[in-house]
């Protein structure tokens, strides 16, 4: 019987139930109700987000495939396409970090190779609570090991990403994974079922009870035996996926396929319904034919299982033997479980008896659509107030004392932290060290050393060197990619914060010398049924749309993750943006590091000393306040175009985006991993407060957008400045590389003066020292 309790367990509202009855012309049975519940879930139907997502720009001459398929695709020339997408695996990773993260990687890889693309690179964007908070270490270690365990084994390099620590994510970490593949543009495969009579095949791992939605699992009505609850988190098998990957790509070479889709969320239900719906066809399957891991599984369980490493494919009539042979070669068995029909119905049988029968469109296109109420959050006006003159100077001394101690290395750097370093201001030297040692800014070597980032021998910009860049063998080309987000900015202003995320990801790609082509987004938010959260979501989507339009990087797909809350406390609204760009000549790639002593250091863009939402305020004053930096999209576009030109003409030797920690941190990072090449720079003063040292800090650590530090050989400086002037991008020589010190003067007064080796040690060993220090 379907009563209020059953509906609630299925997460369906009474009016949604009515809608189902209307489509069916009768009361659904429990199997059908289960299928509706997963297909109409927020995760599959995007029912709260769709009205907003529709406003995003998704088109452009470069776009070969926009949202709606397993992944997006863009033209990269020479008859090739880059296929890419980002997806979240937040909830599973919190419950079981290793498997949650591992299966996230497995899922996004399947999305790419089902499009007919060979996956060649992975990125990830991870967010945790404060590093020293209870539980963070377990989550971080587990998530990193899970990503490594899956990606390393399957042999796809993890070439970059971001890791952020912020108390807001303590109860709800974010694990967003991105994958990019390359396909022949003419051979992109779709997730479509068509041609009545064509065989529907199941291939890959057997179906088990794992991953069935916990709420529905517990229902005794379905089967007393299923009361034994399996964890809702699936277990990944990268070896199985490697076999699937190779076998599927081989089958796709034969053109014996009509379509293919992986069984991810909502498993067999989603893949059959979506493939049928896209092809305007019906699909009929018999669950008794589905390979099963355990005995006694019900049709309900089989249709809702989310077991990993499974694919559904439709073969052309008469070509079945070819398909079967290829899978046999890889010791996989493609099993025919049904066929395509012409009646538009998803018909599920069990040993010949129909157990569920639903129009495909009812499950997919006709899912509910909500315009949820929105109101500006109450906290917003308050936290946007930032009175710099009211900042107590004594406060930073206390906070810094703590941070500096936490990051102090063995050598002279702690001397600096205590403020006795000669030359420069003791305060600013200490702040710089505290920022470089803060886990969000510190080197992520400890993380990416665990990822195979070189397999496939394409990686030409290694992790930690800026955007990830992989060359495309058989061409001169390379693809650059970056994922970026800033939850703190979005918390303070979701519209501007989201724009800044798009700008930063595209800027990082441009710094490598690549022309940004398109973007994918992963939208991590709280409970959309709360008007304040929905407002944040709508604002962020509007911001992404504005930035993507202005920078000409259409959104080709992505994923929405809502309900990221623990105990009613939502995470910072966090859109993460992945941008892919094209380098026409791989050997013109540019990295973040200074290349040689004696080069000119040039700042592109202007700083305004903006401290709102900055890492400086957080680290030195323990404050999350103000409004994020302003963003002029036209200036940003000009800057990015200029960067691509400078790289193409080989005029710049290094380029590094100015973001977390501002210009001082950027200059320091340009010196790192260079065997100690120093720098002397003189930057402009800014006036943002009455307090003089605070003005110096704002110049050093302010996070004004659209700024990049580039280096050039002295002979090329004139040309760089000419190109910048032509592009209307502010550009100034601010110093020179060389020596063993990092020196930065503000308005002519020395503010930072430190030995690069000492500063670098703080930055490069911060995470490792943390793990060495504590055994929890």
């Amino acid at each position: 019987m379907i009563d209020a309790q059953v509906l609630e367990r299925h997460g369906l509202k009474p009016d949604e139930h009515e809608r189902i009855v209307q489509f069916m012309g009768r009361e659904p049975n429990l199997i059908e109700l289960g299928m509706f519940s997963v297909m109409w879930s927020e995760h599959c139907s995007y029912k709260s987000s769709r009205v907003h997502l529709k406003t995003l720009p998704t088109e452009g001459p470069q776009v070969l495939q926009g949202p709606g398929e397993n992944a997006g695709a863009v033209d990269i020339g020479e008859g090739l396409a880059a296929v890419f997408k980002i997806e979240s695996h937040n909830h599973p990773s919190f419950i079981e970090p290793y498997q949650g993260a591992a299966t996230g990687v497995g899922g996004i890889i399947r999305d790419i190779f089902t499009m007919g693309a060979r996956p060649i690179a992975l990125l990830n964007s991870l967010r945790f609570g404060a590093l020293d908070a209870p539980g963070t270490r377990r989550l971080l270690e587990g998530v990193v090991a899970g990503i490594a365990g899956y990606g390393n084994s399957i042999g796809i390099p993890t070439v970059g990403g971001e890791v952020v620590f912020e108390p807001s994510y303590a109860g709800n970490p974010l694990v967003n994974v991105f994958c990019l593949g390359v396909a022949k543009a003419s051979a992109i495969v779709k997730g479509v079922a068509s041609g009545a009579g064509n065989a529907v095949y199941y291939v890959g791992a057997k179906t088990g009870r794992d991953g069935i939605h916990g709420a529905t699992m517990a229902s005794a009505e379905f089967d007393e035996k299923s009361a034994e609850k399996r964890p809702a988190v699936q277990v990944g098998d990268p070896f199985m996926e490697k076999l699937l990957l190779e076998a599927c790509l081989e089958v796709m070479q034969t053109d014996a396929l009509v379509g293919i889709q992986d069984m991810g969320a909502a498993g067999l239900t989603c893949s059959t319904a979506e493939m049928g719906s896209r092809g305007g066809a019906g699909v009929e399957i018999d669950v008794a034919l589905v390979p099963q891991r355990e005995a006694g599984m019900t049709p309900y369980e089989i249709m809702l299982s989310e077991s990993q490493e499974r694919m559904l494919l439709v073969a052309k009539k008469g070509r079945e033997a070819e398909v079967e042979r290829t899978f046999e070669k890889w010791d996989l068995h493609a099993v025919k479980i049904g066929h395509v029909t012409s009646d538009g119905m998803l018909r599920v049988k069990e040993r010949g008896t129909v157990v569920a029968e639903i129009p495909n469109r009812a499950l997919t296109d006709e899912a509910p659509l909500y315009r949820r109420p929105m109101t500006e959050p109450e906290y917003l006006r308050e936290v946007q107030q930032l009175d710099l003159d009211a900042l107590e100077r004594s406060a930073d001394a206390v906070t810094l004392g703590r941070s500096a101690e936490a990051v102090a290395p063995r050598s002279g750097a702690n001397v600096a932290a205590r403020g006795v370093q000669p030359g420069g201001s003791s305060d600013q030297n200490a702040v710089l060290l505290a920022l470089l040692g803060s886990p969000t800014i510190a080197s992520k070597l400890w993380v990416y050393r665990q990822y195979d980032h070189m397999v496939r021998t394409n990686t030409i910009n290694l992790p930690g060197m800026g955007a990830g860049v992989v060359r495309i063998k058989g061409t001169d080309r390379a693809l650059a990619m970056s994922v970026d987000g800033n939850g703190r900015y979005c918390y303070l202003d979701p519209y501007r914060g989201a724009m800044l995320a798009v700008a930063e990801a595209a800027r990082n790609v441009a710094c490598a010398g690549a022309r940004p082509l398109a973007a994918t987004n992963c939208l991590n938010f709280g409970n959309p049924e709360r008007p304040a959260i929905m407002w944040q979501f709508a604002q962020a989507v509007a911001g992404i749309g504005a930035a993507c339009r202005a920078l000409d990087v259409p959104i080709t797909g992505g994923n929405v993750s809502l309900y990221n809350e623990t105990d009613g406390k939502a995470i910072y609204p966090t859109p993460t943006i992945g941008v892919v760009g094209l380098l026409e000549h791989a050997d013109r790639v540019v990295g973040r590091r200074f290349q040689d002593a004696g080069d000119a250091i040039i700042l592109l863009g202007d700083g305004r000393g903006e401290l709102g939402g900055s890492e400086y305020l957080k680290v030195a004053h323990d404050l999350v306040r103000g409004v994020p930096p302003a963003l002029d999209l036209e200036a940003e576009r000009a800057l990015q175009t200029l960067l691509v030109r400078l790289a193409d003409e080989r005029l710049m030797r290094s380029a590094h985006d100015c973001s977390d920690g501002g210009l001082a941190v950027t200059l320091a990072e340009c010196c790192f991993d260079t065997n100690g090449i120093g720098a002397a720079a003189s930057i402009a003063a800014v006036q943002v407060a009455r307090d003089a040292p605070l003005n110096v800090a704002a110049a050093l650590f302010g996070e004004s957008a659209s700024r990049v530090v580039v280096s050039a050989v002295p002979d090329e400086v004139t040309r760089v400045l000419e190109r910048a002037a032509a592009a209307k991008v502010p550009a100034r020589v601010i110093g020179q590389t060389g020596g063993s010190q990092l020196r930065i003067a503000v308005g002519g007064v020395m503010a930072i003066d430190q030995c690069v080796d000492d500063v670098e040690r703080v930055w490069s060993t911060a995470l490792e020292r943390y793990f060495a220090k504590r055994v929890a």
């Binding site: 490594a148 990268p238 397999v455 021998t457």
Partner: protein, 231 residues
């Protein structure tokens, strides 16, 4: 000359080795599927890196039973040059074609980074183009590269000069802090008694092109290419 690249299910550096042999060094190259017992006339065999059979039981433990391993063994016994890289090295150990075994890295973590290895012996088909004492900067990428041999065996291996590569600092000095995985005697590469079968944890195929950040791996390929050319 013709390279035969053995492909096990789960191999994932097979295409990289193929690319190095064919595109970088201009040699013939062919994939050898593990279920086939045919070496297709290869002059040199590479067992590439990866996770053969998922490495689920123990690294390399299943791969040694693949049909191709019979002909590989026969080829090795005839004196044919065989190179096992990373997982390929582990498979050679499990097959008994090389002595010793692999343990998990002492950090208990997978490590991917550039390391420095010193060439100890140049009388093998894969080190003949290098000089004794030459330091090569080549990437590693493994979780189980902690080479182990019991004291007696180790003594024998050393006495026979079977250690061909050792982890060192950039200047070629032995220093435990530069040993990335805890291998006994800092062993990074090894040959058999007859010196034609070589295993190494570092990936030379990842260091053959300047674009990838280093070309020190070329010495390994150049050695065997010149050797067979002479022959």
């Amino acid at each position: 000359m013709k390279f035969g690249i053995v492909v096990f299910p789960g191999s994932n550096c097979d295409e990289d080795a193929f690319h190095a042999a064919k595109d970088v060094f201009g040699q013939d190259a062919e994939y050898l599927w593990h279920k086939d017992a045919d070496l297709k006339g290869a002059d040199v065999l590479i067992l590439p890196g990866g996770f053969a059979h998922g490495d689920y039981l123990r690294t390399g433990a299943m791969a040694r039973f693949s049909p191709i391993m019979g002909p590989v063994r026969a080829f090795a016994e005839r004196g044919g040059p065989v190179l096992g890289i990373c997982n390929g090295f582990q498979i050679l150990l499990e097959s008994g074609l090389l002595p010793g075994a692999m343990l998990r890295n002492r950090s208990l973590k997978y490590r991917c980074e550039h390391v420095h290895v010193r060439v100890e012996q140049t009388d093998t088909p894969f080190t003949s183009a290098a000089g004794v004492g030459q330091v090569l900067r080549i990437p590693i990428g493994h979780g189980e590269g902690n080479y182990f041999a019991p004291p007696e065996l180790l003594e024998q291996i050393e006495a026979n000069h079977q250690v061909i590569l050792r982890y060192t600092d950039p200047q070629g000095r032995l220093d435990d802090t530069w040993n990335p995985n805890g291998s006994v005697n800092a062993i990074a590469g090894l040959c058999n008694d007859a010196r034609n079968v070589v295993g190494m944890m570092p990936h030379p195929e990842r260091a053959c092109e300047a674009l990838l950040g280093g070309v020190d791996g070329r010495a390994i390929f150049e050695s065997v290419v010149s050797l067979v050319a002479v022959r």
